[in-house]
């Protein structure tokens, strides 16, 4: 009560909190150092590697079973859907190229003839350059 009258409430847990915070601060430094060691990197790497090795046969069996099941049901497999999605992205990219070219045509046609023969816009160049480099490498999305 006396504490409250003075404007401050006595908190019996304050000392406990200080001890706790100090403990966690120390613990934090220890843990940061621990995860930053070669041993930790090796341990987590080994754990992950073992998990992937052990689960690989099950994943492969599951994939094969799923492909067969979908085939029996006349449904597309995951790989076929992925191939379709990649084709959609390719189409979208081509549409974007067309969009860029149309924008350029509209812009050039709205300019006086002398200006139309000058250098193309940077933005259009960028899209064209992107399209060119994509075509050169023949990358498939």
């Amino acid at each position: 009560m006396a504490g409250e009258k003075n404007g401050a409430t006595a908190d019996p847990f304050e000392a406990f909190r200080k001890v706790r915070d100090t403990y966690f601060e120390g613990m934090s430094k220890v843990m940061i150092d621990a995860v930053n060691t070669e041993e930790y990197a090796q341990a987590t790497g080994t754990l992950l590697n073992n998990y992937l090795t052990a689960s690989a046969p099950f994943r492969e069996a599951m994939d094969k079973a799923m492909v067969m099941a979908l085939e029996h049901l006349s449904l597309p497999s995951r790989q076929q859907v992925i191939a379709l999605a990649e084709r959609f992205t390719n189409l979208e990219t081509r549409l974007d190229d067309l969009d860029a070219k149309l924008d350029r045509i509209v812009e050039l046609s709205s300019r006086p003839p002398t200006a139309a023969t000058s250098r193309p816009e940077e933005g259009t160049q960028a899209a064209d350059a992107g399209a060119r480099s994509r075509q050169q490498t023949g990358r498939k999305h």
Binding site: S28, T37, A41, L52, I82, G123, T124, A126, S133, K140
Partner: protein, 355 residues
């Protein structure tokens, strides 16, 4: 009698705190509320334009595009009303655009930095320039977004990029002693091929665990303890809720890009060594000539300052500035002090270069 009343009050407080805690853990906060319109899409990528609130004649004529990392939502740039970098910059008169990479699906497992920087970014920027009618633009890249923007700026120096703002940019991977991720992804321990063969894309849960495991006590214990102690303070609760909403919204990173991040950057430091090849083009940092503001978080455990500091002597820009901020990887832009330090500095730096 007094003890009974006190005990009853304690139970009431405890009950209220538990309810608030439960709400924070089981609901999503309303984040990314600044009005925006979708102006371009390609595959999962979307380009948004934030609705200007300043009259056109008072706005800066140079638009700015924001580019965030590949494995988290860019909503951190527009966290919550009253505490949003985007809202702040729109209010200051900037024409702000945001490139959201979206969530890669299995069909995107081959996407690489090459595709992001040479297919997606030039197209999004073209659209931004068309919508804004500007001839030059500013670009802000954060974390892996800073790698992408740096590569783009070096590969396409004549595309109209005037100002480049890099936030916590992981560009130099030479100081392996300070890079915990370098140690974890070392080829002696981490079988990258096996991971990507199993998952296609790098699972968001694994990336999230990696980021949190850098500071396990803070992320798994003290974060929740501090929240518990602040549960009676609405400001603490709302700030925590919105941040937790963003942090827990995890998704995979495209396998091709992840492979490049590990092999080209973490293991071989190819960008700074001048050996990074993007679709047949060597990335020469000397070709980066845009005005550069390099924002470094002094307490960053994900991108230690040594990763961002080495860029300046390597680039061709003449107008450069390094701005060091006290804070962590995310805190410098989304923490409680961001609106007093980082945002005003970016604004003042850009304002002088956006007329």
């Amino acid at each position: 009698m007094a003890e009974t009343v006190s005990l009853s009050n304690d139970w009431t407080v405890l009950d209220r705190k538990l309810k608030t805690f439960n709400r924070l853990m089981t609901t999503k906060a309303a984040i990314a509320q600044t009005p925006k319109e979708l102006i371009w899409t390609l595959n999962k990528a979307k380009l948004y334009r934030y609705v200007p609130v300043v009259p056109a004649e008072k706005r800066y004529p140079v638009p700015m595009i924001l580019i965030f990392a590949l494995m988290n939502r860019p909503t951190i740039l527009d966290l919550r009303p009253g505490h949003s970098f985007v809202e702040y910059m729109v209010g200051k008169g900037y024409d702000i655009y945001l490139l959201d990479w979206g969530v890669p699906g299995p069909e995107d497992s081959n996407l690489k930095f090459d595709d992001y920087t040479l297919d997606y970014m030039p197209r999004a920027i073209r659209k931004m320039m068309q919508v804004s009618g500007a001839k030059e633009f500013s670009m802000l890249g954060w974390c892996i977004g800073a790698i992408l923007t740096t590569i783009y700026a070096a590969l396409r120096p004549d595309d109209g990029l005037r100002n480049l703002v890099l936030l916590t940019a992981p560009l130099d991977f030479s100081n392996r002693e300070q890079l915990t991720f370098s140690r974890w992804t070392d080829e002696r321990y981490f079988d990258l091929d096996k991971v990507l063969a199993a998952f296609g894309n790098m699972p968001g849960e694994m990336i999230d665990f990696g980021a949190k495991a850098l500071k396990p006590v803070e992320n798994y214990i003290t974060n929740y303890l501090k929240l518990w102690e602040g549960l009676e303070d609405p400001r603490v609760v709302e700030a925590w809720h919105s941040m937790n909403t963003w942090v827990t919204d995890i998704f995979p990173m495209a396998g091709g890009a992840y492979r490049q991040l590990i092999v080209d950057f973490y293991r071989n430091n190819r960008l700074v060594r001048g050996e990074l090849n993007i679709r047949g083009e060597l990335v020469d940092l000397k070709r980066l000539r845009a005005n550069l503001l390099n924002v470094i978080a002094e307490g960053d455990h994900i991108t230690p300052p040594c990763q961002s500091e080495a860029i300046l002597p390597k680039i061709g820009s003449t107008d450069t500035e390094v701005y060091r901020v006290r804070g962590g990887h995310i805190g410098i832009m989304a923490g409680s002090g961001a609106h007093k330090q980082t945002w005003p500095h970016i604004d003042s730096w850009l304002a002088a270069r956006s007329r």
